[in-house]
Structures are given as C-alpha cells and as structure tokens.
Symmetry: D2
Subunit: 397 residues, 4 copies
Amino acid sequence: MELNSDIISKENSKSNWINRYSDVRNHSVDICKPLEIEDYVVQPIVDVSPPKWHLGHTTWFFETFILQPYCTGYKVFDPQYNFVFNSYYETVGARVIRTDRGNLSRPSVSEIFRYREYVDENMKVFLNSEFFNNDIEPILELGLNHEQQHQELLLTDIKYILGHNPLFPPYKPQGLNQNIPVNKVEMIGFPEGVYEIGSFGDSFCFDNELGRHKVFLNDFEISSSLVTNQEYLEFMADGGYEDFRHWHAEGWDWVKQTQANSPLYWHFIDGEWMHYTWSGLQKINLDEDLCHINFFEASAYAAWKGMRLPTEEEWETASDHFKWGKRWEWTNSAYLPYPGFKKEAGAVGEYNGKFMINQMVLRGASEATPEEHSRNTYRNFFPTHLQWQFTGIRLAK
Amino acid sequence: MELNSDIISKENSKSNWINRYSDVRNHSVDICKPLEIEDYVVQPIVDVSPPKWHLGHTTWFFETFILQPYCTGYKVFDPQYNFVFNSYYETVGARVIRTDRGNLSRPSVSEIFRYREYVDENMKVFLNSEFFNNDIEPILELGLNHEQQHQELLLTDIKYILGHNPLFPPYKPQGLNQNIPVNKVEMIGFPEGVYEIGSFGDSFCFDNELGRHKVFLNDFEISSSLVTNQEYLEFMADGGYEDFRHWHAEGWDWVKQTQANSPLYWHFIDGEWMHYTWSGLQKINLDEDLCHINFFEASAYAAWKGMRLPTEEEWETASDHFKWGKRWEWTNSAYLPYPGFKKEAGAVGEYNGKFMINQMVLRGASEATPEEHSRNTYRNFFPTHLQWQFTGIRLAK
Amino acid sequence: MELNSDIISKENSKSNWINRYSDVRNHSVDICKPLEIEDYVVQPIVDVSPPKWHLGHTTWFFETFILQPYCTGYKVFDPQYNFVFNSYYETVGARVIRTDRGNLSRPSVSEIFRYREYVDENMKVFLNSEFFNNDIEPILELGLNHEQQHQELLLTDIKYILGHNPLFPPYKPQGLNQNIPVNKVEMIGFPEGVYEIGSFGDSFCFDNELGRHKVFLNDFEISSSLVTNQEYLEFMADGGYEDFRHWHAEGWDWVKQTQANSPLYWHFIDGEWMHYTWSGLQKINLDEDLCHINFFEASAYAAWKGMRLPTEEEWETASDHFKWGKRWEWTNSAYLPYPGFKKEAGAVGEYNGKFMINQMVLRGASEATPEEHSRNTYRNFFPTHLQWQFTGIRLAK
Amino acid sequence: MELNSDIISKENSKSNWINRYSDVRNHSVDICKPLEIEDYVVQPIVDVSPPKWHLGHTTWFFETFILQPYCTGYKVFDPQYNFVFNSYYETVGARVIRTDRGNLSRPSVSEIFRYREYVDENMKVFLNSEFFNNDIEPILELGLNHEQQHQELLLTDIKYILGHNPLFPPYKPQGLNQNIPVNKVEMIGFPEGVYEIGSFGDSFCFDNELGRHKVFLNDFEISSSLVTNQEYLEFMADGGYEDFRHWHAEGWDWVKQTQANSPLYWHFIDGEWMHYTWSGLQKINLDEDLCHINFFEASAYAAWKGMRLPTEEEWETASDHFKWGKRWEWTNSAYLPYPGFKKEAGAVGEYNGKFMINQMVLRGASEATPEEHSRNTYRNFFPTHLQWQFTGIRLAK
C-alpha cells in the first residue's frame, strides 16, 4: 500500500481527505436509498451479506483500525459491534459465523445509520486534528478502498436479494446496464516475449498487485469485445449445458447437481428467455454483454468455441488495446501470490493473502464498481462456482 | 368442527362474529407492537417463521377459504400472495419451500399490514352481508382458531429471534412468566378402570379431538405441580446430560450432536445460570416452572427421577384435579388418530391428520396461548427434539 | 425375561441347553453358506450391517455377558473385539460408529469363524460345568433370542447387499417366498370391550412384551389376508405415489426426496415390473403378498383404500383368527412402553426400552424369522421410512 | 503422447511390448499379494477405491480401448463390467457413482482375477498378431502408464484401508520407507532469467506435460532436502495447528472442521507420537522425511518457517540439483494447462484436461511410484485438503 506522498500543503491535504472520505461514505448510503428496510436484513445464500451488515462492517473498519488506535479518547459506539460486524479478521476477535448474518434483526437499520453518523463525525474531527498524520494515510486509503469494494458487493447482493424474490421488485433504473459500444470485433495479436505486469508508481493498490515483475508470454490473440447474450444463447441452443465434453469434471458436477441451464437471473417464461434486471424482469437484450456466469460456464463456452480464456498476464498486457470495465472478466489464472509477495503484519495482512488458493482471477471492473476504483492491475478473485458477480467472457487463443 | 348453533337473533350473531373477528385479528397486531421492522423479517431456524409471514399467512387463510369462495365479486389483494403465504396446504397450490421464508424481504411489513386491512374490511362487510350464513360459520371459526394458534407461534418465534440475537433485546415486560401458585405438591392417585376422553358438547374443537371414546387405564398417580427450575438444576448438577442411561437412544444422539447441556435460552455466564426472558437476560428464578425443554429432556428427567411422563389419556382424565395452563406438558403419548378419526375433505382436511406420525402429544396450554384458546381436550404436538415451545414437565408413576 | 423353570433333571437340562445352543449357533452359519467372502464385508447403507459383523457381534454377546462374568479363568479371544463388535451397549464401552462397520476389512471372515469356534467350545464346556446354574439361564436365553433376531437381520441385510449389486446375484432358491394360502379373504369383526394383551405364562419373551394388561377397544374389523402385489399395483396404477392426499406430510416428503415410486427391490424394466428375489431378478408374482414397503407406504395404501392399519392391540386380539408369519405387519401403533414397563439394570436394560420413541410397531413374523422365534405378543419396531424389512400390509376399519 | 518410433525389427518390438505388458500387469498383482480377500473390498472414504476395483478398472482400460476397437472377433468378458469398472470416462457410458464402489461385493476378487487373465491372454495374442501396429502403440503405452498410476494408488489406498482399521494390521515390511540420504542440507540458488520447462524428446509423457515452453523466473533458492518429521514436530510444538496466521482461510476452516492436529496416520499414544507404517504402528522416526500432509499443512509449515513452497516451474528447473523421488512435493502452482495444451479427441481426451481446476501440482515421485514411472516433467495433482498421498515439503524462498 504505497501512498501518494504529495507535497501540497498539509491543510489542503486534510480537506482533500475529508472530502474524499465524505464522498465515499455517502456513496454507500446512496446505493441503499431505493431499499425498503426489510431489504437490508435478509441473506438468501451464504455468499450474500445483508446490506445493513455491509453498512455496519465498513464503518467498523474505520472505528477499529483508525479511531480506536489513533484517536485518543475515542469512545467505542457499542462494544458488541466488534462481534457483529467483524468479517473475517481472526486477529481482531471472535467473528459471527457468516451464515448467521441473515438471522440478526438487531442492530436495526436506523441504529446502524446512527453508528455511521457517529463514526463519520468522529472521523471528520480526527482528520482535521493533529493526530492525523502521514503514517495513518495508508490505512485510511485502505479503508476507503475497502468501502468501495463493499459498494460493489452491496449492488451485487441487492440484485441477488431482489432478483430472488418471487415478486421481482425493481431496484431503480439507473442506466447501469449500458454497454460500451465496440466498433469492431476482432482478435488482437501479441508476439511472444518477456512482458512486465503488476502495479507500479505511487497510486493506491492492494497488496496482491504489488511486485511489478517479468513474465514470459507465448504468442497469443485476445478478443476486442466480450461475448454477448446472443452468442451465449447459441451455446445454449447447441446443447452447451448437456455436453460434458465442454466442461471441467468439477464444472460438470456443478451442472448436474444444480441442474444449471442458463446464467443466473435468467428465466424461461412462456417460450422466451427473460432475466431479472435493475428494472425488474425484462426480455434478454441480445446485443448486451453476457453477465452472471461462473468460471465453469465461461470456460465451457470458450471450449465450445474452440478457444480459451486469457491468463491474467495476457489480459493485463493487452488491456490497453480494448475497452473494459462493464464486466469482471474470468481469466484462466489461479489466484496465487506474485513473486516476492509478503503479507502485512497484523489484521490488514489478512486482507488478501489468505484467500490465495482455489479461486480464479477476474480482471477488469463492472457496472457495479465505483468510479475511480478500477485499474488494469486490479486482481479480483472468486471461487469457480459463483455466478452472482457481474461477470463476463473475453476469449483468447 | 361442531359449532354453537345458538338461537339468538341473526343480527346479534352477526355482530358477535364481527366483534370476535376484530378481537382476534387485533390481538395478532398487538403482539407485534414491540417489534422493530427488522424483527418481522428473519428466520433463524427452519422451525421458526418470520413474524411478517405469520401476519400474512393468517390473513391469506380468510381470503382463500372465505372471501374467495363465498364473497361474490371479491377481488384478490395480490394473486402472488397465495404462493408466498400458503403454508402447507398442498391442495391449494404450490408452496414456498419453508426454509426460504426468511429470504423474502418483500412483500414489506407495511404492505402486509395493508393486506390485513384490506381483507379485514372485506371480511367485515361480508360478515354483515346476506352471503354470510350458518354453513360458513365452521370455516370462520376454524380461521379464528387458526389465527390464535399462530398468535402462540408468533410469541414463540419472536422469543427465538430476539433470544438468539447477541444483543439480547428485551421484548416487553408483560408479566407473561408469572407462575400459578401451587398450594401443595403431591401425587394424585386414580384407580384403574374405563374412562372417557375426547371432545364432547357443541363448542369448537379441532378435528383431532373429536370422537369421545373409552380407554382403559391402570392405576396411576400424577403430580399436582410442574417441575421447577430448581429441580431441573439438580438433574443437571447430578450429571443428567452426561449419563446415557436416562436417555432414549435418539435423545442421547441429540445430546451428543448438539452438545446440549441445558434448556433452551439458558447461558452459563460468570459462574451463574442466566436465561433469556421477555425482559432480556435474567438470573434463573429457581421457583419458576421449568420451560423450553424438548421431549428427550423431559423424558430423561423423569427417568432420572425414577418416574415417567403421563400418557395423554391419564393427563386428560386427571386434568380437573390440578392447575395447568402455563406450560405445554409433554406426555408419553404419540400423536395418533383417535378411534374413528376422519380427515375432512379438501384443504382443511390437511389441518391435523397428515401430521399424525413421529410427533408426541403436549397437553395443557402456555403463557403464550391466547385466552379462550385452551381446553383440556386440546391435543398439541411437536417433534421430540424441539425446545423452542413453552414446554414443561409433569411427572407420573 | 421369565424362563421355563422346568422340573426335568439337571443333567437333561444341561444337554438340552447345549443342543439348543448348538442349533441356534449353527443356523447363523448355515444362513451365510451361499455367500462369497466379499459379501460378508460390505455395508451399502447405514441400516445394514455386514454379515461378518452379525457373526462377530452375536458371539461377542455370549463372551461378554456369560463367559467373562461367569466362567472363571476364561481368556478373552481378542480384547479389541469389544470395540469392534459391541453394537449399542453404551454400558459396556466405547462402540465403533455404526457407519464405519463397512470399512473394516479386518478381522477377516476366517478370523471371525475362529472366534465363533473358540467361544462355542468354551460355551459348551461352561454349559456342562458346575458354574452354569439357574441364575444364568435368563441371560443365556436372551443371548439365543438375540442371535435369532440377528439371523433375521442377516437375511434382510444379505438381500439388500445382493439386491443392490448391479449383477443381481441370486442367493439360493429356498422356497423362502412361499405364501400361506388364504382360503377366504374377509373382514373379521370384533365387538367393543375390554381385552387383554401382553405376554403371560412362563415361556421366554422380551422385556417390552411383559406386563399383561387390559385395553379398551372399540368395534373393529380386520382382514383375514395381507395385501397382494396385484392390489398394490392397482394403487400404483391409480397414481398412489403422485397424490399427496394419501400420505402423511412426512411420508410425502420422503416420496419427493427419494423419488420413490414402488416397493424396495422393484425395477421397471422393458415395460414390466420385476423385483429382486432370493433367486435373482424375477417377474412380480401378482398373487404373492406384497413385501418391502415402509410405514408411509403401508399407511398411504390404506388411506387410498378408504381403510386404515390396525393398532397393535387390535392385531394381538384378533391374531388367532387369521394366518400370519410371512410378513411383518405394520400397525398404526407407536412403539411405547406397556403400563408398568421397567428397564432391567445394566447393559441388557438397553435392549429395548431406549428405542421407545419415533418408531412404529410391527406384528407377526416374516419368512426371514427363525422357526420358534415368533409369537403373537412379539413387538417388532422400525422407523417409518425403512423398506428393507420383510414388511406387509393388513387392513382394518 | 508421442512414442518412441524405434527402428529395431518389428518382431523384437513385439516381444518387447509383450514383456513390458507382462511386467507391468504382474506388478499390480504383486502389490496385492499381502492382502486378505476382505481388504480388496472396502472403501473407507470416497477418495479411496477398493483394491479390487483398481484391478478391474486397469483391465477394463485395455479391453475397452484396445481389444474392443482393434482386435477383431474379441468377445467382451462381461458386458456389465463397463458399468462397474469405468471410472470417469463420460464418453464411454454411464459410470457407477464413485461412492458406491465400496458397496459392491461382486464381481468377487477371484472373478476379477479371472477377468485379468482373460484380458491378458487376449492381449498377448493380440500383441503378437498382425492387428497390432504402430498406430496402436500410443494407446498401449497410455494403458501401461495408466496401470502404473493405479499401482501407486493401490499402495496409497491399501495403506489407508489398513491404517484406518483399529487392529492396525501390517502390510509387509518392504523397506518402502527408506530415505534417500542427503549429504548436506542447503539452499540452492538460481538467477532470474528465461528457462524452459515441459516434456521434450520421444519418450512417453502424459498430455499435460507436453508443450515445452519458456518461463521467466525471478531469483530463487530451493532446499536440497525435504522437511523431516523432527522439523514438523517443531512446528506442531510451536502451536502450528492453533495459529490461524500460518494458514490459508480455507486451510484454517479445514483445521477447525476436522480438528486436525497432525499428519495423517499419526496418533498420540501414551505421551508419544506414533504413526501407522507398512509394518504397523511404529514410533515416529525423527530423521525420516515427513509424509502424508495436505497442501494446507505444507503451506502453513512454510509460512511458519518464513519461507514458501516452490512453483512447479522452479522445481523443474532446479530438479537436477537435488535428489527427489520418495515424496510427492507440494508446489504452490495451480494445476492449469501449459500454453498450447489441447485435449485429445474421444475418451482419452478426458485423461487430464478436465481436472485442470482447483487442484495443486505435486512434483517428484514417491516410495509408492513404480520404477520407471517417474520423470522431472511429471505433473501430479491433488485437491488441497487430501493427506492420503505420500506427500512431503521442500522449501523455497
């Protein structure tokens, strides 16, 4: 976590931080505006967290890692919240079993908003105070990026909650699904050779992006565009979900166990494919980029097409040559440490390293990613069976 | 479901029914008054239903079984509610899998209250109309008793929801836990002979109570009082939960799998037994009647004491000789049909008969039972492992 | 466990016991003669035990409850066998988790036969010695009856093991499936009144049959014959497995979860119902008594027929008026203690009492029951979902 | 699968193939010689297959992929064996659910040996005939390597079966556990640069090794020796299994769920660590290379030591500089396709490619690997939680 050590005056810096803090924090609240109180509470599957938990957890981060250690005299809002809103930081204390989050009606939503206000007020005073210095900037930066990650999860989880309600309530038409128009669909070629990937420079990145390093890549080609709904429907029509030859053994088990036959949120109603969108149940838009498929589906589609998914090294190398940012793009790279990766000491060290097994890397960003929270070195990662992210497919060969 | 065919004037009858309908319906709303909206939504275990579901389901009963078939021109509030609020009536259509109830944030609580108001208004108009006649009274009576059963479940489930929240929020001190003072603890004896049990007379009862019939009972004795917390603590102190000899094989498996070592809601904190009550976490009151034990625990306690649980025939025979009504009392009788039991035709026939296997009979009533909803022929029933009812122990030998 | 205290000379008695002991022990070995060694080892489901375990366990009973306590100087065959062959006697020591039995390739079959021979030789010397006296006769009698129970389970489990092998190997045509011809199918009526049931006299019975007692029965009728395959096929053809109205709620869950659509061992092959028999896969014999249905199926069949299953009190009362013994007949009685039931002290006290919950009583006997091991007071019992016993249906109303 | 297209005379080649075929086939039989028949049958966990299944499955491979397609007039031994002995080749037909293998007592062991003899006789005639030509050599080579892989699994599974029997029967002292003496324990350094890995030349390899390709490696050091029992005991003594900081999140879940506190086969008895070996239960040999740890444990040990596991590229690059072959060595590389990897058409295409997800690469070989079945390009792979392979740890930094 290297930070911008800018030379602008200290006062300017303080007010910049305060503004940035306010912007990020307000955005989380904005995302939840269309919700009913009841929508904040439920947890339909273990991978989804209740929106009120996201609001509390991101607040707990600032309280635990900034106000408690650095703000002298700070009084914790409620000592029991550490138990309720800690997510996975084993260092900081016992955590609530994740499956239980959807059972907790208290603290109530209004109480959690009070918690946010209390922490925000204290944070603003703190950021304006002499206690706030350069040493604290990295953890503050991390807290803001952490909240932005949860903003994306908030949208992901809200879609899951509303999209699995038999009444299919709309969220809010926001033009979130707009595609990036692609002028020309083509395969872009790269010659073999040694390339460099990984974060460099001074701007913020997560620890898993650090360590710019050389990689040797063979000749490869990568598509300028993502797979569309139309193209995926062809795979479905060709029996893609019924032919084991396209699938990994584990993917085929997933197909059979879940009886999967389409992306998440798709429903075949009266002879037509519909899907749940931010505006409720809608006809499939054929030209739109495919969304909500898991790694197994992405990989099976590529195999059916006689192609493959790119590696994350190929993706990063090529990323300046195509438009990206509306779908998280599955790569065929396992989520593993870069050469020289080191875990930070303490609780923040648990941020990324401990998940570096049995997950695949996603590159790019999605319609749910907050602005200014994407870069071409960003390494997102998810288990291979999950569909609920805003995921898409870019082919390579 | 035999009904009072009273001779009072038709108009009087109508207004009686309307008053009774209003009283019962309002009581459900009153029970929920202390809740936050979030408390209406969650379902911590499959046996518990979210309070908002109870409110919708009981309303759905009147809509489905009275307004739709008998009220000409009635317009259903929302056709999708049949799917959401049907509980187990296979006859009436597809039902939501029970485990999913806690995932449904919509319809919202306020929407469900609107549903209640809509149905209540239509019901009152209907009850005042010429369409309402004697033939409809049995199903109306059933609907009211059905709602009263759910009022008890509402309290049971609310206690579970709040009592499993790490913040232990109080519900509302209501003197609900008051004991019936027992003058003298003694064993009351009955000679062997032929006795009669089962419902008789004209007042309402469920179909499972019908068929007054003779039973032969051996000599038996039954206690005038329930087992107290103090007495149960002696069982615990004597290693009751560690000695398999007191337990059924299936009960012992339950102890080991759940690592049970106390009644539900009990917590050993700082060297002292506490339990969650309507007023929050409290010290155990030693003189209070024990509550929240399952059949296995009740049976193990009796075995440890060298006694046994009464049969339901013994309980009913003896019930005029002791005070009862604060705890559902486990009997050693399996829930099976009385001689000559017949299921009603149609959906209401599913009310009781289909559950007559692998459950045990509870007799009496509890602090959560609505007034005027208890009688000594009432046959309550639950599976043997559930603790979340307001259950107690009366010994026999 | 009351025993024949006959007056015949002591020597006669000794040689009678030795002969009886030999006969019973040899019969277990005879049952296994058609098996390959591999058949002794496997455990396809948790309810089935490997045949070699039955052979070891019944031997362990005599070693543990007779030779060890009463035969001075007896040397245990292998101290680890207590761990391997104890079934459920918590009193006697730790037991192998039941699901693990099918994983134990050792002790080998030949080793277990050596164990049997060793214990049998020691038992015969003991039965001939002065150490054997009247006090020991009850436990010896229990051991022999225990072995006979396991002979029935041996046949039941062997059928399951071979009948679930895709090669459907025959066991041995033994005329085991012969029906008792029924002259006339009719309903036999009994008037209401007080009857007596339960064991009486001096001959052996299990503790759960003890306590002859009065019961009051209403008028009832019971069939002189069992339901045939032909009759059950009518139920199936009428959609019996597709109509929830015939089923208990728990039974209907079982149908849906297991996708049950026929008795166990039935296979629909090339347009015809076949079933696995002792002679391999055979066409269904329409006139044969139905076999291998669980309680839910028995109960659903009765409901479809507009009748019901008899209670165990009715069955015992009527049992002299019809032929029985080829199928265990499901009753609608839960397996609960008779009035005055007392568990014996020590390990044998675990024999029956601790199972008296959530099981239903079966009356009669089956083609797998050893000769001289059936009587009309015998209370067999099984959980409601198990089909693998030789079970049938007798209707009542 | 490129094969040696040597120029030696055709006849020589034929007899070489026949000898090689016989040697490989006989070795499988030799491995099973110390077994009792019962040991061939059981399947204690889903990852283990019964030895008799291995013997049948490897035979089925030759029957299905050589004799049936290429040997005119060949008569299948038993048409049902395809169903029983197919492992995972979806192309070839329905397969028995893997968990069911341990339930199949038939075909018997002697029948399976008859099957082996029948196929072996036919194979020898075939290999000597004009039908056998160069085109068939690759699939024959694959069949032999396939059998060698199963020889390793046979030993692995036999150890699991005997090592999980409470009697701990020895297999056969065979000097299998002998260590390779390491003269000097040191870290061997390699400079950064482009290296080449992957199979080259004409000798046999699996499809997953094909495609020799360049990789860029940073500076690294790798140990000349494996971690010993002594060293691992230090990790255990230092609380390695109790400190989440050493573990991946998923590894820590594994520790808590399984309550793991040692390698597989280790037992703490009377104050001392013992482990099950080919000679039965023995004291831990401190100088011996650690064995039977899963990826999570290997990775946690490395983290505790402040080091890491090597990547497979590093391992292969360095492999000429240290001794290897007694333990499969966990790498920190996910099992993914090499650049340009292509699945073969048909059933043999399912050999490796479909497993390329959520598994980690192991390099080297083990004491259970058949002679002439190891090479430094070999890519073994297993899921991260499995301990039952002969796995060890080599550190890198």
